[in-house]
Symmetry: C4
Subunit: 193 residues, 4 copies
């Protein structure tokens, strides 16, 4: 089966998730520009959730550039990823409301872990479809970035119950790693041309 | 007419339906990880509705892989299916709120029946367009899965007013049957290649 | 310019509009199946708005089947149509809340008129792009259905302030006329094959 | 990489943003047509936000007509634009609620500036990908419209704290300039055919 419709569905779901926290924003009650600051925690939560979901979209976009065939397992691996992604807005909202406390930080890390694990499973389901000498295997390689992220997230989960700020530092670090989309994929695509 | 735009529209509607219950989720009031449990019935309802809608998306995706021509009747059969699917989030929400009582269980089964019947009608409208020796007819065959589902749902509707838990067991069983997407379609596609 | 992206955008907007009233539905407070009746006016408004928007989607789908070239004017004519369509859910909600009174019925007819006029303008902007001997001109012909609808709506607007029920009868009649998608288009497409 | 998926994702996000203020509209409490006027500031805010987002969609549509290759930087430049666009509904809502006061007017101008700057950055990221003699460079030319808009917005930001109505006049003027989609692009496309 071709991946076009799976990609289009993914884009639709992510378009909703990336904008869902806009619905939480309310116009401030006052008339001064500084009154925006009343909404600053919600604005910040919106920005965080937006960037986070965008990172996954960009990486999904890059990954699927070199995938031209999928099967039923891929569809479910992808839906599994969408499920975890769909929880990031609400996890971000809790973090924005309650601040850097054990509960919201741990919940946030669990959602991030869910996203990372399901993204890895999606990658594996694709690798299973392709032969090892393919572009995909070459582009993903040993997936050091993926393994590193998982290690960071597990550490962040442990720290959440001790020093929550360390957890935040850890997952912001992971976000930065992924912010740069998968250059390996672009390299393979260029070689291919 | 070609089915591309109908599929894209279906994907858009399902992308909304699959995420609509996210809007019901609220950040917990407390700061402990265990405070998530206050939201557990809503989380569970979200998961149930997500899986349910996803099953239909996966099966619709499989079905339309081998359909390359549609007519006006197909469009309306598809919109009819979307209408019933659009009621599943609200039916799930009632089930989540009220628990396993006659009312919400019966309503849930009615929505499931509506989805199943309208999916069957969509299949029939497609079969009417194609000749009997086509791949589609071959892939759908005698539609034992579809007929079995309808029988289970009718039984579930009757039990809703007597022992609602039996109804729940019945429709969970149907969900499991459909969770595995239509292997028959994949088989036909492979033969075709 | 090609119409593909305009169609995709239209599908996205209509997918949202067709499901937006789902957000108004609330699970009933009780545990009996009959408690659904508490929500019956909202359910009915949802069904009405769903069918109405679906009719436009089906006709837009048919119309654009034979259009392969658009210009900037077409984009704005299409956005104008989307604007009026986007008001149908709220107009339906008022009708559902307040019942068949002058205010909501007149508002509903005004929105229907807006949709009908903007759809006609979209058709005209397309005809201006194509030569008169084209398939499009042939398929649309003298647009009797369009002219009849406008006449019915104008009558319905007048009756809204006298006998609102007559208005309702008039616009339901128009809906029925359009429910059957444009057979003329299908005929042209078949001749073409 | 090809731009198709980026365009589709953009369409999905803009489809949500353009309709998000519909959710703010409530049916009036009364039964008279004139009761709509109770909602007039929300209706006006909806119309303004709709037109504003539509202008960006039309211009994005035109711009991408002549772009057939993108890279990772383009994806992020585009997401950056979507972020600012996603703030226009809430900025419009504040303006609608509070009226022409310093605070909401300045906030509105800041969002408009964000959109204009990020659109310019998107254009630059595309120009960097293409050689100077390409159609794109030719179509965009010296980007006088873009530079003029930025100048108007900066002036509007200054006036917001002195005479807010002048700011409104300035950004309405910019909207009118852009309302007419980029004829330069259409000209190039026509020459190309």
């Amino acid at each position: 089966m071709k991946p076009e419709r799976m990609n289009a569905f993914t884009d639709g779901v992510i378009a909703i998730l990336i904008t869902i926290l806009v619905l939480e924003l309310r116009p401030p009650a006052g008339h001064q520009l500084s009154d925006i600051l009343d909404e600053k925690s919600k604005l910040l939560a919106y920005l965080l959730s937006f960037v986070f979901v965008a990172i996954y979209w960009v990486n999904h976009h890059h990954l699927m550039q070199i995938v031209h065939r999928i099967d039923g397992r891929t569809l479910w691996a992808n839906i599994h990823l969408l499920f975890w992604l769909s929880l990031t807005p609400i996890a971000t909202a809790w973090l924005g409301d309650a601040g850097v406390k054990s509960g919201p930080v741990a919940a946030y890390v669990i959602v991030l872990l869910g996203c990372a694990v399901s993204y890895t499973l999606l990658t594996l389901s694709l690798l299973a479809l392709y032969e090892s000498e393919s572009h995909l295997a070459q582009a993903i390689g040993s997936d050091r970035k993926g393994k590193l992220s998982l290690a960071f997230y597990l550490a962040a989960l442990a720290f959440a119950f001790v020093v929550p700020w360390v957890s935040v530092a850890l997952f912001v670090a992971v976000a930065l790693i992924w912010f740069v989309p998968d250059r390996r994929v672009e390299r393979v695509l260029v070689d291919d041309r």
